[in-house]
């Protein structure tokens, strides 16, 4: 539940435009089961709330905000219990609704600052009504007679009236997109993007092999790797690759490995079949 990013959206899969165009109500055919799984289909928490409100089957001005808040929170809990990644927006809304719920249930103290539960509830109801009104407006708009679909312009225009004196045609959009793409192009050309350091398995194997000679006794894997870690950012990749390489080397008998418990330090030492100097030279040569 730590995803702060937007969940991937696939509105077309769930609410295809065709539905919106043809279906006046704009109601989406969604049953409860799908709802639980398909959070990605919602365009944010308000969309989800609106959907839940719709299932109350009452006029939006008469919905019970309290019931709605409970439904939403329950929904989020269910989503979390089956480990659906939720965008931060949804969690923030859940927290806000929990706060709203407490405000509605507990009488407000006289000196209490901030909006009352009723104010918050009516603000939420307003926002839902407004969003729904905009959806309906969008549907009505798109169902109007549209140029090029229902209504047509002259097919063989003879003349383009030039209203501007400049004699040149360009829109603000043209101008801005030209500028943005130019600047972006130049920025990409001028900025050297820092190469991300990643330890390959081969790198890790070579480094481990080099170290083998020095290792007299059990040595903590990450402890000796520190020598090779120039920056903390390399830590994760170095440990991951070294660990994978060490397993392979254990299999070959070049290394022994020991860990006393989960998350305890990992120790390594030379195995029964150490790497020969020639083999090491070969590896070094291969790496260049």
């Amino acid at each position: 539940m730590n995803s702060a990013k937007e969940t991937p959206k696939k509105p077309s899969a769930r609410a295809p435009m065709d539905v919106l165009w043809q279906d006046e109500s704009g109601e989406r055919a969604l049953h409860e089961e799908a709802l639980v799984i398909d959070i990605a289909g919602f365009e944010g928490p308000l969309d989800l709330l609106l959907h839940l409100a719709r299932t109350q089957k009452v006029d939006l001005s008469r919905i019970s905000v309290l019931a709605l808040a409970e439904q939403y929170i329950a929904f989020i809990e269910r989503a979390r219990s089956i480990r659906i990644e939720l965008a931060a927006d949804y969690l923030v809304m859940a927290a806000w609704l929990a706060f709203l719920k407490s405000r509605l249930l507990i009488p407000q103290q006289a000196k209490d600052e901030g909006p009352s539960g009723e104010e918050m509830a009516s603000s939420l109801a307003f926002r839902l009504k407004r969003l729904e009104a905009m959806r309906e407006a969008a549907t009505r708009l798109i169902n109007r007679n549209r140029l090029g679909r229902d209504v047509f312009a002259r097919g063989a225009p003879e003349h383009i009236p030039v209203e501007r004196h400049s004699g040149y045609e360009a829109s603000l959009y043209d101008l801005l997109s030209a500028y943005a793409s130019l600047r972006q192009r130049q920025a990409v050309m001028q900025v050297t993007i820092e190469k991300r350091t990643v330890w390959s398995l081969a790198d890790a194997r070579l480094i481990l092999a080099r170290m083998l000679g020095d290792m007299v006794d059990w040595t903590a894997l990450d402890h000796f790797l520190l020598r090779y870690m120039t920056s903390p950012r390399e830590r994760a990749t170095a440990i991951a690759s070294s660990f994978a390489a060490s397993l392979e080397m254990v299999r070959e008998g070049r290394l022994e490995i020991r860990q006393d418990g989960a998350f305890a330090p990992i120790y390594v030492r030379q195995g029964p079949n150490p790497m020969s100097a020639e083999k090491l030279a070969e590896l070094e040569a291969a790496r260049g």
Partner: protein, 240 residues
């Protein structure tokens, strides 16, 4: 040009030829604007037509009359802002339609954003996001701008001077609207206070502005907007 109806009776020997001359001039003006508008696929402005007519011609009156003349025909004269265009009658779409008549389909999000811009303009991106309760994903506004339906209008004179967005004349043309006030359901929405950019305690309803001219609305009066909008919403809290 004098309106024939305003001539005084009793000086008939003078008014009769005058009236005829007026009628001839009027017909000629009608023919000229017909030709101008018919020849163009894009709406033609009254100002442009006025330049091509005798000085002082009341273009709008002529256009209104022509509009009536074409009302029942297969091709209608439509007003878009202060521009005019001939378009096939909507009830005949079934005959005119061909396979090539493909129009771009909009995503649900883009359509919603378009409606919000149309009904709430001039509107900032923050306000759009407040209404939808979600961030506008990349490419949504882009698509609408590329279609030529929305544009940056200016900046609001509030802290941060956010850029305001509005619809274009192409938008009106595409959806067959004379002006932005003709948007379906506009009156009801206004009446219900749903176009007010704020919570119900404040029942001030801005009149949507479609004109090109920036209005006083982009003044500190709307300063309340952003702060107030953000305050009671979860998105606003998140931003804090």
């Amino acid at each position: 040009m004098a309106d024939p109806q305003h001539h005084l009776p009793g000086i008939a020997d003078n008014t009769e030829p005058q009236r005829e001359a007026d009628a001839r001039l009027e017909l000629e003006a009608e023919r000229i604007v017909e030709a101008l508008v018919f020849a163009s696929a894009q709406p033609v402005s009254e100002a442009y037509m006025a330049q091509r007519l005798p000085k002082g011609t009341d273009v709008n009156r002529i256009m209104q009359r022509l509009k009536g003349f074409y009302a029942g025909r297969g091709v209608n004269l439509l007003q878009v802002d202060d521009h005019w265009a001939f378009r096939t009658a909507a009830d005949l779409s079934f005959v005119v339609q061909t396979d090539e008549n493909e129009i771009k389909k909009l995503s649900r999000a883009a359509l919603e954003v378009l409606a919000i811009i149309a009904y709430h303009q001039p509107v900032t991106r923050a306000e759009i996001e407040d209404i939808r309760g979600v961030q506008t994903s990349r490419g949504t506004l882009d698509v609408l701008m590329e279609a030529g339906w929305v544009r940056f209008r200016g900046r609001r004179r509030t802290p941060g001077r956010p850029v305001t967005i509005g619809t274009t004349r192409d938008f009106l043309d595409h959806f067959g609207l004379e002006e932005i006030r003709d948007l379906p359901g506009m009156e009801e929405l206004k009446g219900a206070g749903l176009l007010a950019g704020r919570v119900p305690s404040n029942f001030q309803i801005p009149i949507p502005l479609g004109d090109d001219a920036l209005e006083d609305d982009e003044d500190p009066i709307t300063q309340l907007d952003l702060e107030e909008l953000g305050l009671l919403t979860p998105r606003g809290e998140e931003a804090e």
